[in-house]
Structures are given as C-alpha cells and as structure tokens.
Symmetry: C2
Subunit: 204 residues, 2 copies
Amino acid sequence: MIFTILIAYFLVLQAKDKLIAHLRRIIQLSPTEEVIVRNSFKKKHLDKKEVLLFTGEVSSHMQFIADGCLRAYYMDDEAKEHIVQFGIEGWWVNDLYSYLTQTPAKQFVQALEKSTVLQIHRDTLNDLYNEVPAVERFFRLKFEKAYVAFQYRTIDAMAKPAEERYLEFRTKYRDIEQRVPQYMVASYLGITPEFLSALRKNLR
Amino acid sequence: MIFTILIAYFLVLQAKDKLIAHLRRIIQLSPTEEVIVRNSFKKKHLDKKEVLLFTGEVSSHMQFIADGCLRAYYMDDEAKEHIVQFGIEGWWVNDLYSYLTQTPAKQFVQALEKSTVLQIHRDTLNDLYNEVPAVERFFRLKFEKAYVAFQYRTIDAMAKPAEERYLEFRTKYRDIEQRVPQYMVASYLGITPEFLSALRKNLR
DNA sequence: CCCCTTTCTTAATCCACCTTAAGATTATTC
DNA sequence: GAATAATCTTAAGGTGGATTAAGAAAGGGG
C-alpha cells in the first residue's frame, strides 16, 4: 500500500521532470519559476482507448504527454474518422480550436496506449503567462513552430501523391508508425486503409 | 514637390495608424510603447506584380499589409504555382518557415495590386518582444489563431469536395474573390482553373 | 480605340484514389 | 487455446478532378 503510493509519487515526479526538461530545451526557468510551473500542472492517467476529450465538450486544458500515445480525430457527416494529429511522449495534444475559442470541440482526443498527461487549465495558464513570462515565450515559439510545420504538412498533402506522403511519414515518424495500427496511418494521410495497403504492396 | 512630400508623409502616418489600431484591437499599448512600436516598422511601397520576397532569399521581416492585396505562393517541380495565402489590408503575409528558421524561402510573396506594407526586421521584433511584452502577447495570440484557422482549412480541404470549399471561400472571403483572378482562387483551393470554371457553371 | 496579353470557358480523355465486398491475418479475451 | 474482435489484404468497378487543346472574352497599354 505505502509502496504503491511511493511508486505513484515517483511517477508524478518523473512526469513533471519530463515537462520541465521539455521547457528548458527552449526557455530558462529560475528555481522559483520551476516550482510555480510544476504546481500549475496536474497529472492524469489514461487507460488504453480512454477518451480525454469528447466532441461537444469545451477543451479547457493544455495537455503535455509525459508517457504513452494519443490521437486527435474528428468524425465527418458519414461517421468516418479522420485523424488530425498523433502525439507521443514530449508532444502536446488538444483540440486547439476548442481550447482557444472556448467553443465545443469537434475533435476527440483519445489514448491509444496507457498514457500519462500533464494538464494545465486555461485560466491557470493565462495567469502563468503573467507570473512567468518565459512560459508565454515558450508558447509563442511553440505555436510558431506548430504553424509552419502544419503549413508544410498541408502543402505536402495537396501537392504530393499519397505514396510519397506515406514514405515521408515513415521516415519522419518511424516511432509512431510502429505504435499505431495501419488504418490510422491511412486516416492521418487522408487515404483509405485499402489504398494504403495497395501502396505498401507496390513498395515491396 | 513639397505637396508630394506632404502626401507621402500623410500616407506613412496613415499606414502606421492602421497598424496601431490593429494591435490595439488585441493588446493595450501605453503612449511610450506606441512610439517604440511605430519606430520599429518601416513603410514599403509595392507596385502591382512587384515581388516582395523571392524563393531562395531568407525572409527577414514580418510584414503587415496597410493597403493593397498580396499573395504567397510556391512553385512545384513542374513549375506550377500553388497559392498558400492571400492577404489584404490588416493581414500579415510572409513565408513564415523561412522567417522563423532563417532558411531560404520556398515561397514568393507578390503584390497583386499597388500595395503598402509595414516591415519589421526579425532582430528588431525580437528586441521589441523584450521592450514591449504586450507585442509578444500579440504574436502569441496571432499564431494561435493562425494555427487553428489553418488547421481547419486543412481539415476542410481533405474532407470536403471542391464545390463546397469554393462556396465557403466565397462566403468567407467575398472581398478577396472580387479582387483576384479566378485562376488564383483555383490555385488557392487546390484545383485547376478549368475545373473551377466547370464548377461555377454547375452552380448557375 | 485598337492590338496584344491575360483570363475564362468548353469538351474529350485519362488517372489517382475511393467504394464495396470478401477473405486472410493477427490480437484479445474468457 | 478456442472464440471473437480487430486489423490487413485483394480485387472489381466507380468517380472527382487533372490534362490537353481550342477558342472566347475581357483588360490594359500605347
């Protein structure tokens, strides 16, 4: 019993250590600031297939993945799933539109493996921007990077044929490809699983 | 002569007034800060078809459109143009990837009409982030918004048929549609001008 | 106001990718 | 370790949008 508590406490620390290390790769934090940041986030454990955010809910937290693998996806009118983003350790996942505009989410966020995320509430984060300006800088840079990465993904998606996109996905996200089913990769690439299967056959 | 100079000076003021008004819609600026911001930007006039940024150059400035209409586009291997973004008064245009990573631009930025832009150099802007933190907040919010807007554009582009995308473009950017040739709208939507023409015929 | 360039349309043919449906593998669960 | 669910493959036929080539219309410079 005590033992379990100790292990749990250790995991919390570990998760937050990962977050701090992640931030320190971009910005500097004084020891005091580090404490403030640590206290602003709450750990949340997710089972495989557990849904962190449902369509229709308003997303109120930014989420850092300390461990595991999640996906963000939406369902079209014909109830088909379209994966917008995968995330593994060290990534952030969310329906950002919902988070930023405080409107109901159009996306689901779901764990594909047992996962640990660190959550910070929008209000807490907005306070944190004032208390620890470096955190605001971190997110400015984060969004800049996310924006250009996304722009290039889109340009690729519109200009390049599916085979090329798949090959790029493989080299860029080898670690993810190993961990998620193939039909989800197809969904992320914007093609049907049947077509991906056919592509892969051609590549052999 | 003197008269021309007076008019030119008036236009500079006008342009910077527009910028300040644009910023004030999002953040607050003290009179001192306003002066600092004004002095950080330089006005640039562009003739129709003039290119502001060439592929291969490194983009070193953020650019606010005070007047006119511009486009950002890239050329694929087959020398076909793909429009990534349009911009009119009150928008920002750039090859952000180049600006942020200081690598050679893959996009052109070109005026589609006589235009006026206000430019700020990357170094000046980075200083400005420290001198006027509200400006950093402005750009954090700007990138957040740009990111989600782009994400939704992409989701649309992958999920919806061309006709629907065209109709959405029309309602969302009526003002732009009036000002740019139809084949550029097609390029922005990721379809051929011939197909757009056929679509429009069907809608009548 | 005319000429030349830019832009838009029409129509035939073609291809990347989708749909449907069925069977073959591979995981999970009891 | 059998049963069931989840995932992957194969193959036939369909469709959205591209390509090519022409001509029509609209603009803009001199």
